[in-house]
């Protein structure tokens, strides 16, 4: 089976040039994303998880070609789109769409639902008449659980969950195969969040959509993902099938991240691993393994050599010199 999407060795380097660094004559370089390789099959959900600044959103944007990669290759539906432009890129973009975190800022407040949802159709010349336009939009609204009667309303007349439904309707308008969803439920209340997660899953089944699901919320990821990639300081530190990642994390960061999420079912017995200090700034990343400054099991080698991602089980790999199941000890 060929992958729908393959990204190889993606990197993005930002030159952080401030007014001051111009005076002192230096630019600092931020490697926001480095050596990220992922594959996504049809109708599959790959979750990209990690904390703020780990490069997960940048990775999503690189894949959409919303920002230009500094290195690496992106193959989507068999075409290398890394450097394509014009008609080739436009064709690819019809098939890859994005859903954003905050529908309040991603929907234009001055456009009606009809205008917003029809925009991608208009832009691609797929509309024959005003009646056809209304008909297509009505169908799209129906498939995201909104009544077609809301077509004439503006975003501020909707609740957060409904606005996210409008954003999703727009994203499926062109019949994409891939949706990059960047924190799509993070701004929503928990009871509404469940509605949107269910909707995304229903649409996936009906339309065989693939999701690159970017999230910091492990509980949601645990529900929706098929595979999980954990990022830290711009790199994938562990990637594998969801059950493996949650049951037997092999990277100490993955294990700490999983144990840090507060459980909504109080399991007082479970020992939480609390990492000390903060994530280092990506402009001053540590030598060797990026996680070593916070890692409870770091050794000398971790400062000298950057651990490569290596297989620990079928389809499961981790970037740690001491990768083993639950490296920080069994949760009691």
């Amino acid at each position: 089976m060929t992958a729908l999407l393959r990204a190889d060795g993606l990197a993005k380097v930002f030159a952080a040039r401030s007014r001051w660094s111009a005076l002192v004559g230096g630019t600092s370089v931020v490697r926001a994303v480095d050596e990220v390789s992922i594959e996504l099959a049809e109708a599959e959900t790959l979750a990209l998880v990690g904390e703020s600044g780990c490069g997960k959103s940048t990775t999503g944007r690189l894949i959409m070609r919303l920002i230009e990669p500094s290195a690496g290759r992106i193959v989507f539906e068999g075409d290398d789109i890394t450097a394509s432009s014009g008609a080739v890129l436009r064709r690819a973009r019809r098939r890859m769409q994005m859903v954003f975190q905050d529908p309040r800022s991603s929907l234009s407040p001055r456009r009606t639902v009809l205008q917003t949802v029809a925009e991608p159709l208009d832009a691609n010349g797929l509309i024959r008449s005003a009646a056809h336009r209304r008909e297509v939009v009505a169908q799209l609204l129906d498939s995201v659980g909104l009544s077609p009667s809301v077509m004439g309303r503006y975003p501020h007349q909707f609740s957060g969950g409904q606005r996210q439904r409008i954003g999703i309707a727009r994203s499926i308008a062109l019949g994409p195969s891939l949706i990059v969803a960047d924190e799509p439920v993070s701004a929503l209340d928990v009871s509404v969040q469940a509605q949107i997660v269910n909707l995304l899953q229903d649409l996936q089944k009906e339309r065989r959509l693939s999701y690159l699901f970017i999230s910091h919320d492990l509980a949601v990821v645990r529900h929706i993902a098929d595979r999980v990639a954990v990022m830290y300081l711009g790199r994938i530190v562990e990637i594998g099938p969801k059950p493996d990642i949650f049951r037997a994390p092999h990277h100490p960061y993955t294990q700490a991240l999983l144990s840090a999420a507060p459980e909504a079912r109080p399991l007082r017995a479970q020992k939480r691993i609390v990492l000390t200090s903060d994530v280092p700034s990506p402009s001053a990343a540590p030598s060797g393994c990026g996680f070593r400054t916070r890692c409870p099991i770091a050794q000398d080698i971790c400062a000298r050599e950057r651990p490569a991602l290596r297989d620990v089980a079928a389809g499961h790999s981790a970037a740690c010199h001491f990768a083993q199941p639950n490296p920080l000890g069994r949760p009691s």
Binding site: S159, V190, S191, Q195, N198, A219, H223, L257, A260, V279
Partner: protein, 326 residues
């Protein structure tokens, strides 16, 4: 010890001009004993933040107005206290921390001086003694290298560190009650874990009472002993933390618990509460949850269910409870 530190009764808040005002908080009442940690959970618009602000009369008036109720702190009603005496209590006996530490800190003042100022306002001690206290506080909240960090500005700190500075400032005068409004919502989970551990440690060490407001039941479960569930400006359930998770009494609490993804592991679909909370102006005379409630009865549309005793430690406001039929 069982003496109540804070007694809130019938606290009601309205927003908007007289005649056209909407009630965003409706007859809320609860107690906090010394050393207690009470969690308040609710979704956006449930009134939880308005409630925490009105305890210290911090809601902007106008448009807000506290229309009835009392907030007794150590026997003194804060709502009838002359406004000139409030600054003695705010930041001294009752301290508050907010969600976004960047907007709560002064960007042009070093963090050391900001904490020092908080002490200066309430205690007449000299500059040298204040500096010692500030360094102690910075160490207490786990800021490494406190000597050199004293002179840093807020922008030089990460989000987690700023929240620690806020906590250090809040604790500098050893408050009896700490009100924490979504203290970890803006933080990453590994940093959130650090801040929650810190709050737990402070509680056991100084017996500070905590009122923790959060939309995240996981955070509440981690720190609080008792939970108050709010919906549309009212308390719909209050219970000991384990009871709430094991035996939720109100259909809203039940729905809220069931929609948490980690509680439906292995299931195909998440449980979902249909619809969304009504806007304050759309609330009718009955139970505000009835349009979304699976146990809805005709009475729910017209009458407001009172808080009923479910067990010794649990109360809920619902007509479908067995206690409502007694």
């Amino acid at each position: 010890m069982s003496a109540q530190l804070l007694k809130v009764r019938d606290l009601s808040v309205e927003f908007g001009p007289a005649g056209k005002s909407v009630r965003v908080l409706d007859r809320v009442g609860f107690d906090i004993a010394a050393g207690d940690c009470v969690g308040i959970v609710g979704e956006s618009g449930s009134g939880k933040s308005v409630m925490s602000l009105s305890l210290l009369r911090l809601i902007p008036e106008p448009p807000g107005r506290i229309v009835e109720g009392s907030v007794e702190f150590e026997g003194v009603d804060l709502l009838t206290l002359p406004a000139s005496r409030l600054p003695d209590i705010r930041g001294k006996d009752i301290a508050m921390i907010f969600q976004e530490p960047m907007s709560a800190l002064n960007p042009v003042m070093t963090v050391g001086d900001q904490i020092s100022e908080a002490i200066f306002l309430h205690e007449k001690i000299g500059a040298a003694a204040r500096r010692v206290r500030v360094l102690e506080m910075l160490q207490l909240v786990g800021i490494p290298d406190s000597e050199s960090r004293y002179g840093s500005y807020p922008h030089e700190f990460s989000g987690g560190m700023r929240q620690r500075v806020m906590i250090a400032m809040a604790l500098a005068c050893s408050p009896k009650l700490l009100i924490a409004d979504e203290p970890t919502t803006a933080l990453d989970v590994t940093i959130q874990a650090q801040v929650l551990e810190l709050m737990k440690r402070l509680r056991t060490r100084y017996r500070t009472s905590i009122l923790l407001i959060s939309h995240d039941l996981g955070v509440i479960a981690d720190v609080a002993d008792r939970v108050i569930v709010m919906y549309c400006g009212r308390i719909v359930e209050t219970a000991a933390i384990d009871d709430l998770f094991d035996r939720p009494a109100h259909p809203y609490t039940e729905g809220l618990l069931n929609s948490i993804p980690s509680r439906s592991i292995g299931q195909d679909r998440l449980y979902q509460i249909p619809g969304a909370p009504p806007a304050p102006s759309e609330r009718g005379p009955g139970c505000a949850f009835h349009p979304r409630c699976p146990k809805r009865m005709p009475i729910c549309l017209v009458r407001l269910p009172p808080l009923l005793q479910v067990s010794e430690t649990q109360q809920a406001a619902c007509f479908a409870l067995p206690a409502a039929r007694a």
